[in-house]
Every structure is written in structure tokens, then in C-alpha cells.
């Protein structure tokens, strides 16, 4: 079946469904019949009498729809169908009260021609024509093409019929709209199916792990409308909480070198999350992180709104933080011999040392030629020893990563005492040949270590050889982030400013999703993920659970379009199901008092406290209300950066909104900016603007 023991095990367990209880079954069938008798269906016309023996099949036993259906049949299937009607009629004769003495209108010749059975009663129509998914709604019993029947009529014993239940008349009060129907199908059922256009070409095999997920993302990228999701089709959208920021450093590098970055290298979510923002922090005693949701008009489109979602982790309590064990696994292969690599790393680590505390420990392992510990676990207070070990680091030899990685983990595990936090920091220029053949195997190894308590972060140095995908996959598995360090300023940001954040988890297994209210939002676009699914995620659903470190913040931006807006991209829904859905949602959200303060959706966060197994839930409504004055510049700056990214990607969503507007928006919302990150961004935007004017417009990124 599958080659996956876990899947097989789950499958076997699911297969072992308990038998239905006969009482429940009988009750359900009785209710079904009551409901049927009460429904409009049974009043559509008199039920034609049914009766016959095996050799007297009823011809006109079924009503109009069937007759019409039969009339288009070729002889053979028709005979087969007629026979089965006969079979059915036999059963009915026995059990149904209304089957009493009905006159058979005419006897038909017995049917010879047994059909070849294709597996008795296939539980599901295999290879059901996909084209037949056209929105199953509306009352239409006609126009039924022969299609459904023509295919195969499985041969089987006649269905057992409900034991003499089915009291024709005195059905006690089951109202016409039985309980289920009134609240029926908010999501998929009534809405017309809009299968994603191009994804059908995708291999049916489930992609294996990370490598495959990239190719899958490519497939999504080709889908014309995949970047804009329709709420009817995918009401829930998840976004990852551990966003890497490597892309920003790379595009900065490129711009400073005088070239626009290739559009596909621009990752807007990473750009937006590169910057520190002044989001409100959680109160003491509150959950470890706090969501802030703001809705503003989209700068580049008057017809849509921008939903800005921020999560701010509790700021580090520096005094109370647990002791920290850091093992630096440093790539010292020949390629690291570059001023922007090993020497920069050395400086960066030296910068970080003063911020460590005496009880923290540092160890260094190198990998190249022969790997080894160049610094045994050493208290951070012993600064001299650490610095001299750093200065002894030298390049040479080919990469020998396997040993190095194993050694780093061994050291880290040995250093970890109860209540301490341990992490391996892999510093490399991208040669991840760590001795495990497949990246997935490597990622699994890292994930196992993470489960055992040692996390991994990746620090990328240099520019050209960086294997971005592997880097991110590794960091993801190791519950850390992948960052690129190309300047000393960046080194400070990564290692010093965010030291506490990346290194002390305050919440684990964090999953965030947004469920949109279809009455307010018809379409949405998670900015930065339009052409690829969030890492390790499918576009609608699960995202890898992430870790939120102390002081860590996450920003996500959605551009949302209201129902009926001219900015809708996908075909608008027919109004009937939309209304049903609206009523449904209004009922369910239960907190949408008036239309003008209606919720656009609900933000849901699930998380576990570190080392806990029970997960907690935070919910926040997404409402269009005034954004607090101190939050507004933060929201607008993030929007400006999102605009910057889209300009670099040549994305089609901006209309007439261009560089000037983006720069003005960013500049007006620089805020305090103590480290000058935002100022730098504004100058990069100016640089990009002038580069863009020299170069022909970039083709939209795939």
C-alpha cells in the first residue's frame, strides 16, 4: 500500500470502524423515511406503484427523472438498469406497505444479458469523472446525462430494504427542514466547486518531505488564481510563526551591488519580518504572546483592505532567563576563507560574548577535513579562552559535516542540565553536505534532536554558495531560524539584539490560523506566499508548528476583498449559497452584533508552554476598527515593505501605486528606529527605484 509504516498503522486503525448498532441504524432509517414523506420530494407527484416478480420487471416503476434517463440509454445498459429495477421492486414488494397490490402495468421480457460486474459495490466511484464536479446545487432532476449510469452497474445482491418501518402517513412531526438542513453546509457543499485550475497535473503521489514540497509549490505557482484564495473554497488560512529573514539580507546585498534581485528571490514575508516592530507586549500573567490585529485600507488598492496580524512574544526577562548552552558548529572549509565569512563570524561571536552571562556555556566545533571540538564547553565568563579559540579558527580542507554535527549535538547534550536551554548554531556558507545523503534524512535527524531538547539555528555567511532551501529546511526541523549574516550590523541584529529571542522559547508548537467570515471577506491573499505555500504547509491548512522565542514577533499581512467588490479576482459566487453561508456564519460566530462591526474573521492561536503537552487556545476577532495611534506607523511600515517586495517581484497587484508611494509610506512611518533598520530600508528602496528605472521592467515572478 504505502511504504510508510505510520501511515499503514493509521490506516489499519481507521479501517477498524466499529459496527453500527442495529438500533441506531433502524432509528436513523426510520427518521430518514419520515423526513422523506414530509419533504417536498414525496409530494412532487404520486409515487408510481411498484411491484413485480423476478420475471416481471416493472418498467415504469420509477418516476420522471429515471424515465428520462433511461430514454437516452443504449439498449444494453438499459436492460441492465431495468433488471436492477426489478431487483429493487422485489424487495419492495416484501416490505413496503404501499407496495400492496399494485397493478403491474405491463410485463417486460426477462432480461438476459448479465453485465460484467466490476467489483461488487465499489464503495466509491473510482475515476469518477472530475468534470462532473460542477456545483451540486439547485433543484434539477432533469438534464441528467446518461453519464453516471452508463459507466458500470455493479452486480450485487439487492439492497436490503428497511424493515417494515416507513410508515407512510403518520410521520410524527419531522419538519420539512430536518435539523441538519437548516444549518447546512457553510463551506463546501453548496458552493460551486472551483477546482484550482492547473493543479490537476500534479502527481498524485503525496510529495515526500521537504524536497518534494518545493516542487509542489512550483505547481501552485503556475496556477493562475492560486495566489488569491476564495473564502468559499478555503475559509481557513494558516501562516507560519517562525519566518526566516534571509531573503532581506540577500536582496540588500544585491541592491548595494547595483543589481535588482531576481524576482523569485524576493520573499515578501521574510522582508516584512526582518524589521523589529513596536507591537504591544503581553501583560504579566497573560499568555506568553499577544496578538494585535489591525485593518487598514490597502495602500495600493482602494477596493480591498489590508489585515495586519502581529504576534508579540513576551519580552525576555533577562534577569530570570535560564542558563544557556551554545554550541557553535562552524564550517571551516576552504570556501569560508573570505572576509565576509569566517572573519565576520569571528567578529560577530566576539560581539555577542559580552551579552552572555557567567553561568552560560559556549563550545565550538569545526567541521572541515577532520572535525573536532576546538573549544570544550567553557563558561561564558571565561572570555579570554573563548576569544583565543575564535582566533585560532582557520580554514582548510573539505567539509566533513557528519562527524561535526554529531559531535556538536553530543557536546550540547552533555552541557544541558535541568532547566537549561541548549542550542546548536550552525555557521556555514551553505555546504550542507553533513554526511547524510538525503536532506530529508538530515532534517529528520535534526528534528529528533529537537525533540530531545537541543534546537538548531542556521547562520548563513557569504552569498553565492548558499543553499537556501536546505538551510531553511534544517532550521525549520531544528525549531530555529535561518538567517543570513553579511555585515557586522546584521551580525549584531541576529546575534545580539535577538539573542534572547531566538534562544528562549516561551511557547512551543504554535499554530496560527485565520478563519474568514464569508459574509465579509470573499477572497484573501496572504502576502508573501502567493506563489508558494508557507513552508511545510499546504495553502489552506496545516503549517508546521513553530516555536516563539522571548521577544519574538511575527507579522502577517492579508489583502482581503469583500463580497461584491469590483476587485474580486475569482468568479463571484452565486448569491444563494453565499447567503446561506452568511446566515450560517453570523449564527456561529455569535459575537458579531451589528453589521458595521462585523468580524472579518477569527484569529486562532494554539500553543503549548515549553515542555508542556497540553495546548492552549487564544482567539481574537478580526474587526475593522480604528487602529491605535502607536500601532498605526508599525502597520503602515509593514505595508510599505510589503509594497517594496511586490515592486521588486513585479507583482501585478499594485496598479498605479509605485516606488514613490512606497518610499513615502515607509519614510512617513519610520518611527523611533533606534538601530536604523528602517532608514536603511528607505535608502534601499530609493536605490531599487533608480535601478528599476534603468532596467526594463522585471517580468512578474513566476
Amino acid at each position: 500500500m504505502t511504504r510508510d509504516p505510520e501511515l499503514d498503522r493509521l490506516k489499519a486503525a481507521l479501517k477498524a470502524a466499529p459496527a453500527s448498532s442495529p438500533t441506531a441504524r433502524a432509528a436513523a432509517l426510520a427518521r430518514a423515511m419520515e423526513a422523506y414523506e414530509d419533504s417536498a420530494l414525496s409530494r412532487q407527484g404520486p409515487t408510481p406503484p411498484l411491484r413485480s416478480g423476478p420475471d416481471h420487471p416493472v418498467k415504469a416503476g420509477l418516476a420522471k427523472g429515471l424515465t428520462r434517463l433511461l430514454s437516452v440509454f443504449t439498449l444494453k445498459p438499459m436492460l441492465a438498469a431495468t433488471t436492477s429495477v426489478a431487483a429493487l421492486a422485489v424487495g419492495l414488494f416484501v416490505v413496503l406497505p404501499q407496495g400492496e397490490a399494485p397493478p403491474a402495468r405491463r410485463s417486460a421480457p426477462p432480461v438476459a444479458e448479465p453485465m460484467t460486474a466490476t467489483g461488487a459495490e465499489a464503495p466509491l466511484a473510482r475515476r469518477a469523472p472530475e468534470a462532473a464536479q460542477g456545483g451540486a446545487q439547485g433543484i434539477t432532476t432533469q438534464g441528467a446525462e446518461a453519464a453516471p449510469m452508463a459507466a458500470q452497474a455493479p452486480m450485487a445482491a439487492p439492497a436490503p430494504l428497511p424493515g417494515a418501518k416507513a410508515p407512510a402517513a403518520a410521520a410524527p412531526g419531522a419538519p420539512e427542514a430536518a435539523p441538519l438542513t437548516s444549518r447546512s453546509a457553510p463551506l463546501g457543499d453548496l458552493a460551486p466547486e472551483a477546482p484550482l485550475a492547473d493543479t490537476s497535473a500534479m502527481d498524485t503521489a503525496a510529495p515526500e518531505g521537504m524536497a518534494a514540497s518545493d516542487s509542489a509549490a512550483e505547481v501552485f505557482a503556475n496556477s493562475a488564481n492560486a495566489r488569491v484564495q476564495s473564502v468559499a473554497e478555503a475559509p481557513v488560512s494558516a501562516f507560519p510563526v517562525d519566518v526566516d529573514t534571509a531573503s532581506y539580507a540577500r536582496l540588500r546585498d544585491s541592491l548595494i551591488a547595483g543589481a535588482l534581485p531576481p524576482p523569485e528571490a524576493v520573499r515578501i514575508a521574510e522582508m516584512v519580518n526582518y524589521f523589529p516592530y513596536a507591537y504591544p507586549a503581553p501583560e504579566v500573567g497573560a499568555p506568553p504572546f499577544r496578538p494585535s490585529v489591525s485593518v487598514i485600507p490597502t495602500p495600493w488598492n482602494a477596493e480591498t483592505r489590508l489585515v495586519h496580524i502581529a504576534l508579540q512574544g513576551r519580552l525576555p526577562e533577562v534577569a530570570a532567563r535560564p542558563p544557556l548552552n551554545l554550541v557553535f558548529l562552524i564550517d571551516t572549509s576552504d570556501s569560508m576563507d573570505d572576509p565576509a565569512k569566517l572573519p565576520l563570524l569571528r567578529q560577530a561571536l566576539a560581539l555577542m560574548l559580552p551579552d552572555l552571562r557567567p553561568e552560560d556555556q559556549v563550545a565550538i566545533v569545526t567541521y572541515a577535513g577532520s572535525s573536532g571540538a576546538v573549544l570544550a564547553p567553557t563558561p561564558a565568563s571565561d572570555r579570554g579562552t573563548i576569544l583565543s579559540a575564535l582566533n585560532r579558527l582557520d580554514v582548510g580542507g573539505a567539509t566533513n559535516g557528519a562527524e561535526g554535527l554529531a559531535l556538536a549535538y553530543r557536546l550540547a547534550e552533555g552541557m544541558t542540565a535541568k532547566g537549561e536551554v541548549s542550542r546548536v548554531l550552525l555557521a556555514t556558507d551553505g555546504d550542507f553536505n553533513l554526511g547524510v545523503d538525503d536532506p530529508e534524512g538530515l532534517a529528520a535527524y535534526v528534528a529528533r534532536k529537537r525533540a530531545a531538547g537541543v534546537a538548531l539555528s542556521v547562520l548563513g555567511f557569504g552569498r553565492d554558495t548558499r543553499d537556501d532551501a536546505t538551510m531553511q529546511a534544517l532550521a525549520q526541523s531544528g525549531n530555529g531560524t535561518a538567517t543570513t549574516i553579511d555585515t557586522l550590523q546584521e551580525a549584531r541584529k541576529v546575534l545580539v539584539d535577538q539573542l534572547s529571542g531566538a534562544l528562549f522559547p516561551i511557547a512551543d508548537d504554535v499554530k496560527v490560523d485565520v478563519e474568514w467570515n464569508p459574509s465579509q471577506v470573499a477572497e484573501y491573499r496572504l502576502i508573501g506566499y502567493e506563489t508558494r505555500a508557507p513552508q511545510g504547509a499546504d495553502v489552506n491548512g496545516g503549517v508546521d508548528a513553530g516555536e516563539i522565542g522571548a521577544g519574538h514577533a511575527v507579522t502577517a499581512l492579508y489583502e482581503v476583498t469583500a463580497p461584491g467588490s469590483p476587485a474580486l479576482v475569482n468568479t463571484p459566487l452565486p448569491s444563494a449559497p453565499a447567503q446561506a453561508t452568511t446566515a450560517e456564519t453570523a449564527q456561529n460566530t455569535a459575537q458579531a452584533p451589528a453589521q458595521d462591526t462585523a468580524e472579518l474573521g477569527v484569529l486562532r492561536l494554539r500553543y503549548k508552554a515549553p515542555r508542556e503537552s497540553v495546548s492552549a487556545l487564544i482567539e481574537a476577532p478580526i474587526q475593522a476598527q480604528d487602529v491605535p495611534a502607536d500601532l498605526l506607523p508599525e502597520v503602515r511600515f509593514a505595508a510599505a515593505i510589503a509594497g517594496f517586495g511586490q515592486l521588486l517581484r513585479g507583482a501585478p497587484d499594485l496598479g498605479n501605486w509605485g516606488w514613490d508611494q512606497a518610499i513615502r509610506l515607509a519614510e512617513a512611518n519610520r518611527g523611533a528606529d533606534p538601530f536604523g533598520y528602517r532608514l536603511e530600508a528607505v535608502s534601499l528602496m530609493r536605490l531599487a527605484q533608480s535601478l528599476a528605472q534603468q532596467t526594463p521592467p522585471a517580468a512578474p515572478a513566476p
Binding site: A63, A81, P123, G138, G542
Partner: protein, 181 residues
């Protein structure tokens, strides 16, 4: 040798007023509805309730059936949507509820019995988010291809493939944890 009338024929007949056809249809499919309900909710009691609600609503629902999809595909979609509805209602009642089957608080007791018998399954399913559970119930529990499951859930085949790979990843991680324990 008797032929079984195809679901589609019965459904059309039922939709145009043939109560015998309707009876045959629900009788034929009750167990399937129940089993999928169980796979989606993890509780026998829930599944029975769900199946009964679905049966009772089926006449009304059938008016929406146009023979454009396979009857079983359509029916599975009805079941999945009913399970979603139930989950949502329960979520409104108990916003903090989170778990496979947890959503029906009133039935904690009978669920506890279900669980004792199905510990590992509960545990594994409970740790999957709802949309992955649905996918698993259809692909593994009902032996559907990814295309079929996609048709039922109204999603692209690619999305199902994504979800299944996500499921694999998570199961592997759980297995790794188990091995550690």
C-alpha cells in the same frame, strides 16, 4: 442473478418522489455514512448522531443532487460538511475545546470508552488539525484516491497531496516521540 440499481438512478428516482428508491438508497448507505462519521469524529456515539441527522436531512439534500457527481462523492461531501458543522457548533459552545471528538462535551463519558479502545488512534488523530483529520479519514479510512478526496472536500488534488505529506511528516514525528518515550 440480480443487478443492483446504481446509486445515481436511485437518487434521481428519490429526488422525483419515489420513496422506495429513497429507502433503498439510505439503507444501502447507512453503514458507510456511519463509518465515515466515526472516522471523522472518533466517537461511535457522535457518528450515530451524525448519521441520523444526515439521514433525516437527506431528502431535503437530495433536491440539490444533480447527478453531476457520483452519488457517493456527493454523499461523502454531505457527511464531511455535517461533521464540520457539528465541530463548529461545538466550538462555539466550548471555544477552548480542542481534540478529536472533544467537541461534544455532553458525551465525554461515552467517548472515554471509545478512547480506551482506540488509544493510539485517538492520540494520533487528536494531534492532527481538523482539516488533516478529514483528509486522512477519506484517503486512508475510505481508500480514496487524492483526486476523489479532493472532489469530496472541494479542494484540488494537489492540496490533498500536500495534506497527506503533512500527515506523514507529523506521524513520523509522533513515532519518533514514541520511540523516545
Amino acid at each position: 442473478m440480480l443487478m443492483e440499481t446504481p446509486d445515481e438512478t436511485l437518487a434521481l428516482a428519490a429526488a422525483s418522489g419515489d420513496s422506495a428508491a429513497f429507502a433503498a438508497l439510505v439503507t444501502r448507505h447507512y453503514d458507510r455514512i456511519f463509518a465515515l462519521g466515526w472516522r471523522l469524529t472518533g466517537s461511535k456515539a457522535e457518528a450515530e448522531d451524525l448519521a441520523q441527522d444526515i439521514c433525516a436531512a437527506l431528502p431535503h439534500r437530495l433536491r440539490g443532487w444533480r447527478a453531476e457527481a457520483r452519488f457517493t462523492t456527493w454523499l461523502y461531501r454531505v457527511v464531511v460538511n455535517a461533521a464540520h458543522d457539528a465541530r463548529r457548533r461545538a466550538a462555539v459552545r466550548n471555544r477552548a475545546a480542542d481534540g478529536w471528538g472533544d467537541w461534544e462535551i455532553a458525551r465525554q463519558e461515552s467517548m472515554a470508552q471509545d478512547r480506551a479502545a482506540q488509544d493510539w488512534l485517538s492520540e494520533s488523530m487528536g494531534r492532527l488539525p481538523p482539516e488533516l483529520r478529514d483528509t486522512v479519514a477519506l484517503v486512508l479510512g475510505e481508500d480514496m484516491t487524492q483526486a476523489e478526496a479532493g472532489a469530496v472536500l472541494g479542494l484540488s488534488e494537489g492540496t490533498i497531496a500536500w495534506r497527506m505529506s503533512e500527515v506523514k511528516k507529523r506521524l513520523r514525528a509522533m513515532a519518533a516521540e514514541e520511540a523516545q518515550a
